[in-house]
């Protein structure tokens, strides 16, 4: 159902051989499209490795590019004539670049600095800039939109969060709106690397091209951390084989780049992510062998799981993976059934031929920046792991630092957008802007979140939030 505008065809050089690519691709996507799924080797045992997350968060796709080591190929745009190579033996010491790197410096000042240009960050930017704040939105990816860009299904929720629109359309609409505003700077390919506590400023670097970086010092009256989350792996023999990847990574390859990451994959995890990715795989012409899940009941919305059941994709509950195997890449997997206590049922093992294993077993909030800031953090499994303590207006224990979206709690893109609205308003108010109508708008957004989470589906989220929500702030 998608149209892909791949742009101009170009040629890159991979391990001495020419590889065709398109200018809109990342290095990792171009390699995957040409059949390369081995991106390197493990340091000690020399096991082949392939990319896992495709969004710049794991380290499985690092390669040497144009002589620069440890380049995250999944978020590096291809350039004509680029030289890409495996890195060998980087276990003992960090490899040095063969060319000198250019580093410029810049000092920037804003009312609100937002880290992450996904649904939460973009919504926060819209709100804060609408109140007159000078806003910077940074993202480590070369394209803003976060994970919205690969969501091709229509969103649930209500009109307030653009229900019925597809995720990538929402990303485009939000970024288009921000582009029209003079008081907003959207800065892609930019990563925050430090926080100066005394002056409350951020250190970040922007990649202006390979080997060309700008070191930024950003002073802001308030900061919003909207850094999203990272897909989890699962422990089983063979989980490092190329072809084993996050379901979201498969989604990126299919829906952003129009690449089939596998022809007959197995998906582990029958929550919303697992079944939505299964559906999108069918749309991409992929035959999903099965979606399996160790739980008794699928955690997905019934409407999502029914959608793939009627298309003939089995959802096997109480099943999990024993191992994935294959020579240099996934060629098969053994799955088995478990009893009520999650113990394997003897004799239930089945070998299935698959060429991909996609893991949809949950996400972990990306809270590294908040840790740097020494924000109060608590381990709350219901919310996805370590998450920051926050007031109702999403201010963390560090005054002037707010959190929104999956970094605050693994939930939905809809709630990320509404949390972004809350944090955006609160951050602008912290910078001395806004009035009564904005207090009202924030309260409405908080009320919407409460109502959304009153669904029986979000009981665990409610219980988790109860553990990390502090007194005070807007209520």
């Amino acid at each position: 159902m998608l149209k892909f505008d791949r742009g101009r065809p170009i040629v890159i050089n991979f391990n001495g051989k020419p590889v065709k690519a398109f200018e809109t691709e990342t290095v990792a996507a171009a390699l995957y499209a040409s059949g390369v799924i081995k991106f390197g080797y493990s340091a000690e045992r020399h096991r082949p490795r392939g990319p896992f997350c495709m969004i710049g968060k794991c380290s499985q796709c690092l390669m040497r590019v144009n002589g620069y080591p440890h380049v995250r190929t999944c978020i590096t745009p291809v350039e004509d004539g680029m030289v890409v190579e495996y890195e060998e033996g980087h276990d003992a010491e960090l490899p040095l670049p063969t060319k000198e790197m250019l580093v410029k410096r810049e000092d920037l000042e804003y009312d609100a600095a937002i880290i992450g240009a996904g649904p939460a960050g973009l919504s926060a930017a819209l709100e804060a800039s609408g109140m007159g704040a000078r806003v910077l939105v940074m993202d480590q990816s070369p394209v803003p939109g976060g994970q919205l860009v690969k969501q091709t299904h229509k969103f649930f929720g209500t009109k307030e969060t653009f229900a019925g629109m597809r995720g990538f359309e929402i990303a485009k609409m939000l970024t288009d709106k921000l582009r029209d505003r003079e008081n907003v700077d959207v800065m892609p390919s930019t990563q925050v690397i430090g926080y100066f506590r005394r002056e409350g400023s951020l250190a970040a670097f922007r990649t202006d091209g390979l080997g060309k970086y700008t070191l930024l010092r950003i002073r802001a009256k308030s900061i919003i951390v909207a850094t999203g989350a990272m897909e989890r792996s699962l422990v089983f023999p063979g989980n490092d084989l190329p072809g084993v990847m996050g379901a979201g990574a498969a989604q990126t390859l299919m829906n952003v780049f129009g690449i089939r990451p596998a022809d007959e994959p197995l998906i582990i995890g029958a929550g919303n992510v697992g079944v939505i990715v299964a559906y999108q795989a069918v749309q991409a012409g992929i035959k999903v062998k099965a979606v399996i899940d160790i739980a008794k009941k699928s955690a997905a919305y019934l409407v999502h799981s029914s959608k793939i059941r009627r298309m003939g994709i089995p959802i096997l509950m109480r099943h999990t993976i024993r191992e994935a195997y294959g020579k240099g890449r996934v060629e098969g997997a053994t799955i088995y059934k478990v009893d009520d206590n999650f113990h394997p049922i003897k004799g239930s093992e089945v070998d299935i031929e698959v060429d991909g294993v996609w893991l949809a077993v949950g996400l972990t909030p990306s809270i590294e920046v908040l840790e740097l800031m020494e924000a109060g953090i608590k381990f709350v499994p219901e919310l996805g792991g370590y998450v920051p303590l926050r007031h109702r207006n999403l201010e963390t224990t560090v005054p002037g630092v707010f959190v929104a979206g999956d970094a605050s709690c693994i939930e939905e893109a809809s709630t990320a957008m509404m949390e972004g609205r809350v944090a955006g308003i609160a951050a602008a108010m912290k910078a001395g802007l806004g009035g009564d109508e904005h207090v009202k708008r924030m309260k409405e957004a908080i009320k919407w979140l409460d109502e959304f989470r009153s669904s029986p589906h979000y009981r665990r989220i409610r219980e988790g939030l109860f553990k990390v929500t502090l007194e005070g702030g807007a209520s």
Binding site: G164, Q283, Y301, L302, K307, R310, G312, H457
Partner: protein, 178 residues
């Protein structure tokens, strides 16, 4: 199903039955079914989702809060298909039983509108295989027409099916000659 694996026909694995829908009041009484086109909502969970309600021009989809399950006021519903086009879960089919008698002059047939998002989109006149909620093969049908909605983006395939399976049909696949 792959050898060695047993199919799970359970609600826990995403398989909804007509009985489940009846229990939730999602299947209209026979006299309504026989008299007009009606939406069949495969939506029995309390989830925060409102596009069907928002799309309905006559207020026939009743949903006081965003988490309420949709209930249809059969008297107010005109069978216009907008809810089926809007539903992000592709959960709604429109079953039009009188269509057989009135339009096709064949009372053994009915028209079912099936939401569809896979390329290639079936074309008018094509034969399609009909499947139920668990991908069980039900028989063959014929594409009567295709509704392409610019506003909602989900295509509806209007399929002529045997009347007795109209409530079962939930997915179609074009039959291609080998």
């Amino acid at each position: 199903m792959m050898p060695g694996l047993e199919e799970q026909r359970t609600l826990e694995s995403g398989y909804v039955t007509l009985d489940d829908l009846r229990r939730h009041g999602n299947i209209p009484p026979d006299e309504v079914l026989e008299s007009r086109a009606v939406p069949i909502f495969d939506c029995i969970e309390e989830i925060p989702c409102t596009p069907c309600r928002d799309a309905c021009p006559t207020g026939a989809v009743i949903m006081p809060t965003m988490n309420d399950k949709p209930r249809v006021n059969w008297e107010a519903c005109t069978g216009c298909t907008l809810c089926a086009q809007a539903c992000p879960g592709l959960a709604i089919t429109i079953v039009n039983i009188p269509f057989g008698k009135k339009v096709l002059k064949d009372p053994a047939k009915a028209l079912v509108s099936v939401p569809y998002e896979i390329l290639p989109i079936p074309k008018k006149g094509e034969r399609v295989a009909l499947y139920d909620r668990g991908h069980r093969y039900l028989g063959e049908g014929e594409v009567f027409s295709v509704i392409r909605s610019h506003k909602y983006g989900t295509v509806l395939i209007n399929v002529i099916v045997p009347k007795e399976i109209a409530l079962e049909v939930k997915f179609v696949e074009v039959i291609r000659d080998e």
